[in-house]
Symmetry: C2
Amino acid sequence: MAVGIGDLVSRRVREAPPAFFVPPPVPPTYDFDQGVPAPEIYPLEDLAHYAAAALTTYGPAACAYVGGEGYEDLSYGCGGLRQVLAGRIAERQGRAVGPLGVMLFNGSAQGLATVAAAFCEPGDGLVVEASSFPCMVGYQAATGAEVVTADLDGDGMVLESLERRLDELEARGIKPKLVYTIPTFQVPTGSCMPLERRQRLVELVQRRGVVLIEDACYQELYYDEPPPPSLLSLDDSGLVLQSDSFSKMLAPGLRMGWLAGTPEALGAVAVARQDLGVSQWLARAVQLYLEDGKLDPHLDMVRSVYTRKRDVALAALRTHCGDYVDFAVPGGGIYFWLELSDGVDWDQVRERAALAGVACRPGELYAGDESGRRFLRMAFLQVPDDEIERGVAVLGQALKESVLA
Amino acid sequence: MAVGIGDLVSRRVREAPPAFFVPPPVPPTYDFDQGVPAPEIYPLEDLAHYAAAALTTYGPAACAYVGGEGYEDLSYGCGGLRQVLAGRIAERQGRAVGPLGVMLFNGSAQGLATVAAAFCEPGDGLVVEASSFPCMVGYQAATGAEVVTADLDGDGMVLESLERRLDELEARGIKPKLVYTIPTFQVPTGSCMPLERRQRLVELVQRRGVVLIEDACYQELYYDEPPPPSLLSLDDSGLVLQSDSFSKMLAPGLRMGWLAGTPEALGAVAVARQDLGVSQWLARAVQLYLEDGKLDPHLDMVRSVYTRKRDVALAALRTHCGDYVDFAVPGGGIYFWLELSDGVDWDQVRERAALAGVACRPGELYAGDESGRRFLRMAFLQVPDDEIERGVAVLGQALKESVLA
């Protein structure tokens, strides 16, 4: 028998979890599945303008591997954009990380994968929230380290549970290396960790000597009031790295995310990185956009659109689904996390909703096990305002018809 | 003692080879170091035009994670550009791989890293050319597999040496998994593998049952006559994957590379991938550029500029350096590979050339050991035509002054 390519794959492929992004079997009429920005927020004209401006301002250097700032661009990405982002972090988070304290990635997912590879290997342990961003969990598991979960409550990761998991790992001879949290508008639950717990979490990782990855990609996307200070801003040990991205606030199609932390921490990540930096051209375009002061007015608009859509979805959920689901009102982010009442049959809801044209993402994809089966993640931004209520009404009907006798 | 972040890094960081891209200590007057395109070939106006056209043609979908073609965009990149590239591969290489036989990456380096991770793990072995692209060698070593080298001659990888290395790996209980070659204008030597050896190489990997990665990023950049058919075009087993990129023919700042192969092979690579695809926006811009038939006339211009600069460098090398170095005339690619004569002191040449403002890249960076010390890689594209001769003359003077007594 000739050897085929399928016989030659590595453990990373053989033992990979099932694909996370699986499209609904039929294109839904109401797509509450994809966690994407509202299409109306994309600054199309500004993007075209600054893409052209990057080429006229920087000329051929905007097309090169490295710009004027030097060879660090190959492992950190465009120095000009790093400088601007470092300034923004200093101003808003009070941490002067400098341009070597910012590393650009082809979307924050690539950064999360790289930081996992920089710190974790077989024999190490990581702790994530009981329901979390499955891509990051998969990247972490691919390092060969063991991934365990800490409980979540309405205020985010439960620290007593985290500490217990760290103890259990150590008792089994596994070295705890990394904690991954989404403290601000957690995915998928939407919770926001209060200041006091943030302070205790940072103190905990400093005391235990583990790396803390703060996924902060929703921190600018609050509806009502700004979230408490970031974990990065509360740390003075260098053990906290913050992941952020333009995907949800500007456009996923930019594929422009970043990590921020001390230059020492990012120096380690740079060694683990496996590409030659991000697009100079796109980075220069985003840099000029930020330098022109365009981002903050844009974010004001984004927050206003997202709040309006959240309110439309909230009213519709209360009207049509309130008898069958429980949920907290999210203060930011882009999802509702719906917990089905005991009297509702989950399998029936899923089938009926799909048949009726409504797609939501099943909760078990986030929990990684059966414990998520009582939940649905509902992303609402990409559905036009006037269709949100109709879609939620269809979902409500599916719920009603799935009540157990 | 508190634990610092430096105490927590993984083997991938602890055991990484020294950084490959190290800038010359002082910015050189004549930069023959960086392997980059001639800045005059970047199609600045077309890029600005098609970036804007992508937004008007596709609207907000050009800013999203996935375009109209579906969720595969998250692991394969923009379906529209994959379709166009698959058509080009069918037309020019006679292989109908289809859009799921093309996978876009944030530059070909990311693709090379991902394909290594998809097939290699501890206990496996890889074979690369004795002097090769160091980034890929580093990515391969990071998988935990063992990397060994096969000899090179003027026609590329020596197949008898390759077969011996495969035998030696097996004899030591290590499973050969992957062969990485740059058959067309090899880096750094510039050699081009003849058809007959290509056929035997493809037959060899089929017989041995190993994956063959063909790095073809210079295949369009020939000076005199087109190279022989690609390894991908000669394979019918699915064991050959081809890596290619727009970096050297269009602009590195696009960060747009790709892998081509059978859908089965790319399916395995997709599982190993650790990000959410490439920029839809940039991919759509490149797609429209190709659909408008812009690439082939551009490549005609690029070949003419590169041939002219090769000829300028060649004449200067013969005039100023011919007594001290040996080299083959490259038929394509973007480098000269200079072998110092026995009578020249390498350490002196390096120091004198740097002091006089000439940067070339030391050969040992490609060989990974002392065997490369007799070589210099000279990239000439980014130096203006009228400065190439002056720079080569300065190098010749440094060589002359370094002749051993």
